[in-house]
């Protein structure tokens, strides 16, 4: 039991980063998702069978928990008819004053560019570059085949480069 706590604590920083990515860099939502995922692991509702490394298992739980939370929010928004209100698609980075202070410009560009990728591509790139996962481990977390994860990785990487390059050129032109 104590070992489980220790494992969770050991991966807490990485888990929070992954939860942020799954919640589109919404810190409050990421915190809730992370706590819920921890509770599931501790309750035994999510059991680690030892077939993969623990971090991959934990990230899978966090991803599913984030997905459920996102679905619940969508249902709640539908029932409250808030979807009928005109709300432009929110960018991945919350443009709060605090976010502007905390994030530097490079990170904000990266988050904005990641927001333009598909969810699979974004997740694969995050796991590989942010969490130093191998592509096979990333595929394990995402529940897809290695070949599929590799395709998402290559395409996402090329797309991300293109977006970042365009933004850089646009910024230079603006100057």
């Amino acid at each position: 039991m104590a070992d489980l706590d220790e494992e969770l604590a050991r991966h807490h920083r990485a888990s929070f980063g992954w939860a942020l990515a799954c919640c589109r860099w919404d810190p409050a939502a990421a915190e809730d998702v992370l706590q819920t995922a921890y509770l599931r692991v501790i309750d035994g509702r999510a059991r680690f069978a030892g077939e993969s490394e623990f971090r991959a298992f934990l990230f899978g739980v966090i991803r599913r928990t984030a997905s459920e939370a996102r679905r619940r929010r969508a249902i709640r928004a539908t029932l409250s008819l808030s979807v009928l209100r005109h709300e432009p698609s929110a960018p991945s980075v919350p443009h709060t004053a605090l976010g502007a202070i905390i994030r530097d410009e490079t990170s904000r560009e990266l988050i904005a560019a990641l927001g333009q990728l598909s969810a699979r591509q974004r997740d694969v790139l995050h796991l590989v570059f942010y969490q130093d996962f191998t592509i096979a481990s990333a595929a394990d977390v995402l529940g897809v085949s290695v070949g599929s994860a590799r395709v998402h990785y290559e395409r996402g990487k090329a797309q991300l480069r293109r977006i970042l390059k365009n933004e850089t050129n646009g910024a230079h032109d603006a100057r």
Binding site: L8, A9, F16, G17, D43, R45, I102, K157
Partner: protein
């Protein structure tokens, strides 16, 4: 992965920034969660005392509303199935009162007819005893039907609508549900496919007298019937039972009731009256419903006298006379040498306004090019033979009882209409089992037509469309038309007796064998055979759907078309396509075997002819079975 260092650096920078905002590991919360089982947490989260209170309050409110609804519904009758049933029964009673009144009137009529029959039976008329017994049985059947209907109406009034087997009175919701479910459980009749085929019932009444050949009839509004026996040159008035008859016009010359020397059509005129051509004066006599001459009427153009009597002439909705015009000819002079000449390939349909003395052409019907051959006959006289190509498609026409004029187009079997209001329209093609003719079929048809023509010529030209000019003063050889021509009470297709220069007569009969298989009359003065009578043009790829004289108009606003071919004819019966005024083929009527239509009465009454030429023809009356839906 060497080239990905830039991306990796960006992500690491992002990770470092995220780490600055990382929350502490929630160890206390995890410990607390470990001390509290998941089930109790979930219970507290979702089934709090407030939630219980809310759910309980909702249930109580729902029960109260339901109880109030049930009480109000049961006591006030609002939305009550019982009240709805009462309303329905009231409406039904109002509707059936009219039926009851009609039944009462029908009973009175039945009583009168019964007393009439009894009186006749007492008179000891043995000849009509069989028909009287039959009529008596029919009367009993009708009375039984009337009693059944009456009893049914009484039962419906006295008994409420059937309830479901459960005792549900007082529970409107349940009752309504039960009634709805019961209604849904009723079997739904399957929709009918295709055109229904109606077998015309066997005749219920038949004349004892025979006729030489019926050329149309007219049923008056009182049920009596004027029958035009063109073969015997008589017009006979029958009563409603067809049992008693009175000859109102006969062949005796020189009297005021003389039929005349030639077969003449009986053209329906206004009301019960009819037009009857008076050949010497070339005017039209107006006969009333009893066959008496009321007055004479001059046509706007005297030369049209023969045209009026050559087709199914009738009156339109405006009281104008619609008739088939004569085929335009290149000239009235007939060459004396054997030769042929082509004539127009269509015939105009004319409309004469008898008040304003105007004639206009309202349409044309296709007729194959006619050939006329003139040569001296064997006895040194001059004869002209008119022939048509029987292999080409033709159009037909008829005036419906509502005044609309129908043109049945033979090339594609559709109907063009001039409605009673004057508007023209075309309705879609009628269904027909088209038979494609291959080259072999065409050759076979051509050969058979030629062989048939030669046989006809060798036997004196029966059943051919022809004309013979007799010499001046020669005894009239134009006999009566066949016993049944297929035309109805509107006059039919009489022989057009033409008088040229006062000394020549022309006889025209249809090439198409008379309906019912009655042969045309043979000519006594036979011409030598013309081996080259018909130069049949290219045979059409499809067999023509209709022939000449194939349309009839009944008294109920329908058009009856006799197609050349019908797979529904089991034993040689005639099967008619019946088209309503909207141009819809709504039923096919199969006649009893060996019968042909002689005319129509109102309400689906059909007059038929039966018999043969040797023993004479009988007139029969039958009635179409009631239709499930109105043909409109």
């Amino acid at each position: 992965m060497q080239g990905d260092d830039d991306l990796r650096a960006r992500f690491r920078s992002l990770a470092n920034e995220d780490a600055s905002g990382e929350p502490p590991f929630p160890r206390e919360r995890i410990d607390a969660a470990r001390r509290t089982p998941h089930a109790s947490r979930a219970f507290r989260a979702w089934y709090s005392p407030g939630g219980f209170a809310l759910a309980g309050a909702s249930l109580v409110a729902a029960a109260i509303v339901l109880a109030i609804g049930i009480v109000l519904g049961a006591n006030t009758g609002y939305a009550s199935a019982r009240l709805a049933g009462d309303r329905q029964r009231d409406e039904m009673a109002a509707a059936t009162s009219e039926v009851k009144r009609q039944i009462t009137a029908m009973r009175a009529s039945l009583a009168r007819v019964r007393s009439d029959l009894a009186r006749r039976a007492r008179n000891g008329d043995d000849a009509t005893r069989a028909s009287l017994v039959f009529a008596e049985s029919e009367l009993r059947s009708m009375e039984a039907s009337a009693e059944r209907i009456d009893l049914d109406l009484v039962d419906r009034r006295s008994t409420p609508a059937p309830l479901p087997p459960m005792q549900l009175v007082g529970f409107p919701v349940k009752r309504a549900l039960a009634i709805t479910c019961g209604a849904l459980a009723q079997p739904v009749p399957p929709p009918k496919q295709g055109v229904p085929v109606v077998d015309l019932p066997a005749a219920t009444v038949m004349t004892r007298e025979t006729f030489g050949g019926i050329l149309g009839l007219r049923q008056s509004s009182d049920g009596s019937v004027l029958v035009n026996d063109a073969a015997r040159r008589q017009i006979t008035l029958f009563d409603t039972t067809l049992a008693t008859s009175t000859v109102v016009m006969d062949s005796t010359p020189g009297t005021s009731t003389s039929y005349g020397q030639f077969a003449t059509a009986l053209i329906p005129f206004l009301g019960d009256s009819s037009l009857f051509g008076d050949r010497p004066t070339q005017t039209m006599l107006v006969l009333d419903g009893r066959g008496r001459v009321a007055r004479s009427l001059a046509l706007p153009r005297r030369l049209d006298f023969f045209a009026v009597n050559s087709g199914p002439s009738a009156m339109d909705a405006e009281g104008r006379l619609v008739y088939r015009g004569m085929r335009p000819m290149p000239g009235m002079h007939m060459p004396l040498a054997p030769q042929t000449m082509g004539l127009a390939d269509s015939i105009p349909i004319l409309r004469a306004d008898l008040d304003f003395r105007r004639i206009d052409t309202i349409g044309r019907i296709a007729r194959p090019v006619m050939k006329v051959m003139t040569q001296p006959t064997s006895d040194g006289k001059i004869g002209s033979l008119w022939t048509v190509d029987p292999l080409q498609s033709v159009d037909e026409w008829a005036v419906l009882s509502n005044g609309a004029v129908a043109f049945v187009r033979g090339h594609d079997y559709h109907v063009d209409w001039i409605q009673a209001g004057g508007s023209a329209m075309a309705t879609p093609k009628l269904p027909f089992d088209w038979k494609r003719l291959g080259d072999d079929d065409k050759a076979r048809v051509t050969d058979s037509v030629r062989a048939g023509q030669n046989a006809l010529l060798a036997n004196g030209y029966p059943q051919a469309e022809y004309g013979i000019f007799n010499p001046c003063g020669a005894p009239a050889t134009n006999g009566p038309p066949p016993g049944a021509t297929g035309r109805a009470g509107n006059g039919g297709a009489p022989p057009a007796d033409m008088d040229r220069s006062g000394c020549a007569q022309v006889i025209q009969t249809s090439y198409i064998p008379a309906v019912g298989g009655v042969p045309a009359r043979a000519i006594s003065q036979a011409l030598p055979p013309f081996a080259d009578l018909i130069r049949a043009g290219p045979v059409a790829d499809y067999r023509a759907p209709i022939g000449i004289n194939s349309t009839l108009a009944d008294r109920d606003g329908n058009l009856w078309i006799l197609p050349r071919l019908s797979t529904l004819s089991k034993n040689g019966e005639l099967v008619y396509d019946v088209v309503n005024a909207e141009g819809k083929l709504f039923e096919r009527v199969r006649l009893p075997a060996g019968r042909a239509i002689a005319g129509f009465g109102k309400g689906g009454v059909v007059y038929l002819t039966s018999g043969d030429r040797a023993s004479g023809f009988h007139l029969e009356r039958t009635k179409l079975p009631p239709r499930a839906t109105s043909p409109k």
